[in-house]
């Protein structure tokens, strides 16, 4: 009798869960690998903040669309003065923050001034540095004057760090974010999940979901069972590596491989011996077999790159043939550089799958030509301190996920330690050029210089691996910025 009870109970549970799955759904559980440290996109660099809140809870004057295009958002339209220095934004009317306060030009001035102010802890403060003044013309019009013309200004306003916040709630956004978006924040169970619900009276198009939960699942090992057991219905951007094989063939799921802005590079300390020697860097470039790295570190999904530029960008040139995989040539170059026996060096790896796995393969490949790498795994905090800030490293692997960031190679004191006046000249020219054809030409020059100098080991463009229930529609295929835009997401019947 007792046994029967258990069996019946189990059957009842199974039944209950299957009927629930058949009903038309308006809720979605998404798995994300990292938990945001807090929920204010204007006060932290963590991508996880934007992945939850961008376009869902917070909106900016402009926004970035699925293909990386700039779209109007809280600014309905704008005009740019002929000298390119004054932007006049016409704001949307009838927009309310989730706490019921009205959105108007004062909020825009407040947000932009706060982001560039002296006490700003905005992680991308540099984006706002070109702003000279922000003026409220009338409640629905804002005039922004720049110190000098800037081709990417509208794009920059679309970053998550530039979203509009209200003075009433700005201080408490970290805990209880209040924005103007289609979803409002409901709850945050720390370490477990963040729940958003549909906001009343949203100004934009109607949205299909009533509730969205972002569940924090730290690694692929846990994400796959969660997906297979139906606990989560979407892993919009998860570096799954080999685990992908388990769901690829399953008709219950859709696997969508898209692009990101992440150039994954073998960061090289160009200031440190022997990496300051071009021949050494060329030898490393020849020793690297991108195919093996892509297979082992990204489940075969990454796109090889030959310079620091995204392959889906129109200005991209394929430079992967600059230093083809050639072990003999690599050994030859090592000998010419005065290291016929090779040498020892360190490889510091941040705690992400592509770096840790890619690192093992790179180490194995460089061992073939006599470079003996000691692998040192570090946490992000250590990585930022040792590698990025103190530049105490030989080699590292990291994906630079900011869009269009080839200019980092011209930054003074950047952690690559690269300094090439010819390259800097190209970037300076680029900043002053607005003609598209000319810009493309300059981008190509820049890519070529970096490839020839073998500044870093250019490995692959990080793929965006998204998996979701076959019935879910409207999630982004690519990842032009770090976001999980849910405004168009719905369940097919």
């Amino acid at each position: 009798m007792k046994q029967w009870n258990t069996i019946l109970a189990a059957a009842a549970i199974a039944l209950a869960s299957s009927t629930a799955a058949m009903a038309a759904r308006t809720d979605l559980v998404l798995g994300i690998p990292l938990e945001p440290p807090h929920l204010d996109p204007t006060a932290g660099a963590a991508a996880a903040i934007d992945e939850v809140l961008y376009a869902n809870v917070f909106e900016g004057l402009t926004r970035i669309g699925q293909r990386g295009e700039v779209l109007p958002d809280l600014a309905e339209s704008w005009t740019i003065s002929d000298d390119g220095e004054t932007y006049t934004f016409k704001l949307r009317s009838g927009v309310k923050f989730h706490d019921g306060t009205d959105f108007n030009a004062d909020d825009v001035k407040f947000s932009l001034d706060r982001a560039r102010g002296e006490n700003s802890v905005n992680a991308q403060k540099g984006l706002f540095a070109p702003i000279d003044t922000v003026e409220v013309v009338d409640p629905a019009t804002v005039k922004v004057t720049l110190k000098n013309p800037l081709g990417s200004f509208l794009y920059n306003l679309g970053w998550g760090d530039a979203v509009i916040v209200a003075p009433e709630s700005a201080e408490t956004n970290k805990e209880k974010p209040v924005g103007t978006g289609p979803f409002k924040f409901q709850s945050w169970a720390k370490g477990a999940s963040i729940t958003l619900v549909k906001a009343d009276g949203y100004w934009g198009d109607a949205i299909a979901l009533d509730k969205a939960e972002f569940r924090i699942i730290p690694d692929a090992a846990a994400a796959i069972p969660a997906l297979l057991s139906g606990d989560v219905q979407a892993l919009p951007n998860f570096q799954l590596g080999d685990a992908l094989a388990q769901v690829k063939a399953d008709p219950r799921f859709k696997v969508v491989i898209g692009t990101t802005e992440g150039e994954t590079v073998l960061s090289t300390n160009n200031k440190r011996k022997p990496f300051d020697n071009l021949k050494i860097r060329q030898a490393i470039a020849h020793a690297i077999d991108r195919t093996a790295i892509i297979d082992g570190a990204s489940g075969g999904l990454g796109t090889p790159i030959g310079s620091h530029f995204a392959p889906h960008n129109p200005a991209y040139v394929d430079l992967t043939g600059t230093y083809p995989h050639d072990v003999a040539k690599a050994k030859e170059l090592l000998k010419e550089a005065g290291y016929p026996e090779g040498f020892k060096a360190t490889l510091k790896l941040p705690p992400v799958g592509y770096a840790r796995q890619g690192g093992e393969i790179v180490a194995s490949q460089l061992r073939e030509i006599g470079i003996d790498l000691q692998i040192i795994p570090v946490e992000w905090a250590d990585w930022l301190k040792q590698v990025f800030t103190d530049k105490d490293y030989d080699l590292s692997i990291v994906s630079h996920t900011e869009p269009n960031d080839i200019d980092i190679y011209s930054r003074k004191d950047y952690y690559f330690g690269y300094d090439n006046p010819a390259f800097n000249k190209v970037i300076d020219e680029l900043n002053l050029t607005s003609d598209e054809a000319k810009r493309t030409e300059l981008y190509k020059q820049a890519q070529k210089i970096l490839a020839d100098d073998a500044v870093n080991g250019f490995l692959f463009e990080l793929p965006k691996v998204g998996i979701w229930d076959a019935k879910v529609e409207g999630l982004w295929e690519n990842s032009p910025i770090q976001a999980n835009d849910l405004t168009k997401v719905k369940w097919a019947d």
């Binding site: 080999d242 685990a243 840790r356 194995s364 795994p377 250590d382």
Partner: protein, 289 residues
């Protein structure tokens, strides 16, 4: 328990015969020897080179070429288990060494001197015991960076109080014995008595505790490597192999199966060995049917 040494000893043959008659001991010794031989052999020969990644051969199921299949980098799993055993054994063994090396003198000293010194040593022991071992290991590796050496230190520190307690308890039971009193009357110092009379009599206790801590050390090392805080690549370790395997458990179950079995068998073998030794030395056990 410690009577064995001072009651007029049985013949060596009798002792060996008793040992061989103990099922736990024989089975445990057998498994332990197999693992030890595997670890030693890996220094001279493994079926494949574990530092060479052949990504093209990745995730091949067990076959006549790769008996245990290959992993996500195309490495031979059998070879990795062989080399990994070296790592497990080394970490656990050195950690036991640290625990014994520091803990036993401390425990004997405390037992010999008694009084406030004894109290202090035991309170320090409690202090270490009060720390959550795994969390502290995580903290230690956060400070010094993850590596096999730091895993050894982390595990070793928590072995110290264990051996100190066992040694002290064993020694305290022996100090009041008549032959110790006789030795003291003969003018022998505390240190000399400890070395000549106490240590031989608690050696069996320490040996048993040693095998237990050895087994626990292997489990702890596997756990630390599993969360990425143990041995670092390219050195294979069983815990890391399991971590790497779990994402592909459904397409490549052998990757999770073999390292898991390796840990289980090794720990099982050591525990059986410990039980066996304890049975052989424990006179009461001999009365058992």
């Amino acid at each position: 328990m410690s009577e064995a040494v001072h009651r007029k000893p049985e013949t060596l043959g009798g002792f060996v015969g008793r040992a061989l008659g103990n099922r736990s001991f024989v089975l445990g010794l057998l498994i332990t020897l197999v693992v030890a031989v595997m670890a030693l052999a890996s220094f001279f020969w493994t079926p494949f080179d574990v530092t060479r990644l052949v990504v093209a051969d990745r995730m091949q199921p067990p076959s006549s070429v790769h008996w245990f299949g290959t992993d996500h980098f195309g490495r031979d799993v059998l070879s990795m288990i062989m080399v990994g055993s070296r790592n497990s054994i080394a970490v656990a063994l050195v950690a036991v060494g640290i625990g014994m090396g520091v803990g036993v003198p401390l425990g004997c000293w405390a037992a010999a001197r008694g009084g406030w010194l004894d109290e202090t040593v035991m309170r320090l022991n409690d202090l270490v015991f009060a720390f959550p071992a795994l969390l502290s290991a995580v903290m230690i590796t956060a400070v010094f960076g993850p590596s096999a050496i730091n895993a050894i230190v982390a595990i070793g520190i928590f072995n110290i109080p264990v051996f100190a307690r066992v040694a002290r308890a064993g020694a305290l039971a022996i100090w009041p014995r008549e032959y110790i009193l006789a030795a003291r009357a003969a003018g022998k110092g505390q240190a000399r008595i400890t070395v000549e009379h106490i240590l031989p009599n608690i050696a069996n206790l320490l040996l048993v505790q040693g095998t237990i801590q050895f087994a626990l050390g292997i489990l702890a090392e596997a756990g630390l490597s599993y969360v990425g805080l143990g041995a670092q690549p390219p050195m294979p370790s069983w815990g890391r192999m399991l971590f790497d395997a779990q994402t592909v458990m459904m397409v490549a179950p052998w990757l999770a199966l073999f390292p898991g079995c390796a840990i289980l068998l090794t720990v099982l073998g050591l525990n059986l060995l410990g039980d066996g030794i304890s049975d052989i030395f424990d006179p009461r056990a001999r009365r058992r049917p």
